[in-house]
Amino acid sequence: MSNNVPAELRYTKSHEWVRKNPDGTVTIGITDHAQHALGDLVFAETPESGRAVAAGEACAVVESVKAASDVYAPVAGTVVAGNEGLADAPEKINTDPYGEGWLWTLKPAAPQDVDALLDAGGYDKFLAESAE
């Protein structure tokens, strides 16, 4: 299985990706690898804006017909917005996981936390190790 792992993003071992935005917020979604593993997604539930979350806290749920999976906050912070477009079109997570399939945006409590996450190379390596 070939995985698309964009170089400019940060990653977690639970298969979230994080993009730093110019306004200091970050955008969070699940990786191409994760959407492949889950199969056709039929539902996504995103967090309400204003919610304060800890790193590793379950914030969103993505659901296929055969699996439901929690999505965790890669870093602590306050939720800015959930992706409301997914309500009618959860398949965007499958077709465009790093674009229109984003899950929520977050104002990190400590922006430097993001830099401590895996980079693309690290995530690639982690995927290769897990596949063995």
């Binding site: 539902f43 539930e45 659901e63 296929s64 017909v65 055969k66 439901a68």
Partner: protein
């Protein structure tokens, strides 16, 4: 040996194929110390003829009293076709419909059931049924906690006019998850949930309020007012309803300005026999926005590979076999057989039949109350419109009166005195469409005798 088809020759061939000498050898992985001795506490085998005779004798011993008990289970006429169909092997001995292609009969029946129950309760979606009404209310309370994200209190207002056994069952099932049930009293004159007692909780964080219509006393609640109050507090509203009554009464989906959030109830009145307590089934309906928080099976219509319509279990990712520890409930099955009976019952009686059953039950109960309250020492506890049950106050302990009535072949009602000691001796009675004026007269005559006898003694 009962229900084991093997001939000696079969066994020999099978053991040879496996490559062992005796059946006993197949158990060689079990430590010998754990092996069971003879099961002396189990009687030797009986033939179907013998056990049939024993069961017939035991059934005859119980007899067939004239029944005036309700209190959560109701005697209604069941068209003969209902159980003739559901005891067909293809329904009776079928497995849960996981293999959709081999279960279209069960799945389509569930889809039709969901449609009927959603419409009857005036709600958008229904699950495929739960175990019974009482455990269904427990599931509804747990669901309300998941669905009401704004509330953090886990507080549920539970009127005392809700069926006492339901309240106990809810505590036993949902109490393990730290839900707090706060009792709300009833008005001593009307038997309705006391609105001033409800209003005492105004402004506090309430997760949900439960409203039973008709309530345990048979009394009709002011459901619009209670529902609107709940919504104003940010609470979800859970309705507990009698399905027969919904042919006449405003459905929960239309209570107050917005309708309730979850409706549950005991499905037994819809084609399921009293059967000493079960199996029955619970129904549950809700709004589409809460469907993912609903426990239990749900069936949807979709298309097959050839683009033709068919039915399948859907939203399974909520359930225990996928979500495991995070599932909405540990429930696996619905009550398929009883759900099927209810669907066939509703199809046969139709909207007009159900309305007639409800009206006749209401009228017969009115007649029963009129007859019984003619007796000295018997009066009605509350003067409020009721459906097909009424709470009577007696001038003496109810238990011995019921025992005496049993000797006359009459199951005279439910003794509510222990659950509501503040009311003194109380008897909850019910008459459905199955009771004639003659039956009611027979009950009144027997009660007159019993009360008279007791008074003379």
């Amino acid at each position: 040996m009962a229900f084991i088809p093997h001939t000696d020759d079969d066994v020999r061939q099978m053991l040879a194929t496996i490559g062992v000498g005796r059946i006993e050898d197949l158990f060689d992985e079990i430590p010998p110390a754990l092996r069971a001795g003879p099961l002396t506490g189990i009687p030797p085998a009986a033939s179907e003829m013998e056990i049939g005779r024993l069961m017939s004798e035991r059934a005859a011993q119980d007899g067939r009293p004239l029944n005036f008990i309700g209190a959560g289970a109701y005697e209604h006429h069941i068209p003969a076709a209902v159980w003739a169909i559901v005891t067909r092997g293809e329904i009776y001995s079928a497995y849960t419909p996981y293999q959709a292609e081999a279960s279209q009969g069960t799945l389509q029946t569930i889809y039709e059931y969901q449609t009927m129950i959603a419409s009857l309760t005036g709600m958008e979606v229904s699950n495929a049924s739960l175990y019974d009404g009482a455990s269904g209310l427990a599931e509804a309370c747990l669901m309300a906690v998941r669905a009401n994200r704004r509330s953090k209190s886990l507080r549920i207002l539970m009127p005392r006019a809700v069926n006492p056994t339901y309240r106990k069952c809810v505590q036993a099932i949902a109490g393990n998850q730290n839900l707090r049930f706060e009792e709300v009293g009833y008005d001593a004159a009307s038997g309705q949930t006391a609105f001033d007692a409800v209003e005492r909780h105004s402004g506090s964080d309430v997760t949900a309020i439960v409203i039973q219509q008709p309530n345990f006393f048979g009394t009709l609640e002011d459901v619009d007012r209670l529902t609107d109050w709940g919504h104003k507090q940010g609470a979800l509203v859970i309705a507990v309803v009698n399905p027969t009554s919904l042919a006449l009464l405003k459905p929960p989906g239309e209570w107050g300005e917005h309708g309730v959030d979850i409706a549950v109830g005991e499905g037994q009145p819809l084609g399921v026999p009293l059967a000493a307590g079960g199996p029955y089934f619970g129904f549950m309906t809700t709004r589409m926005e809460h469907v993912r928080q609903m426990p239990g099976r749900i069936v949807g219509r979709t298309l097959d590979l050839d683009g033709r319509p068919g039915f399948t279990l859907t939203l399974q990712a909520r359930e225990q076999h996928i979500r495991r520890g995070k599932a909405t409930s540990n429930i696996c099955t619905n009550q398929g057989l009883l759900m099927s009976a209810a669907t066939i019952y509703l199809a046969i009686v139709g909207p007009e039949g159900l309305e007639r059953v409800a009206s006749a039950s209401m009228a017969r109960t009115a007649e029963l109350v009129a007859e019984l309250t003619k007796l000295n020492g018997v009066r009605e506890a509350f003067a409020t419109p009721r459906f097909h049950e009424a709470l009577l106050k007696l001038d003496r302990p109810v238990g011995p009166v019921l025992d005496e009535l049993a000797r006359h072949g009459i199951a005279g009602g439910f003794d509510a005195s222990a659950d509501y000691p503040e009311l003194g001796p109380t008897l909850l009675v019910c008459a459905t469409e199955t009771k004639t004026s003659g039956d009611i007269a027979a009950y009144a005559a027997a009660l007159r005798t019993v009360l008279g006898t007791a008074r003379a003694a």
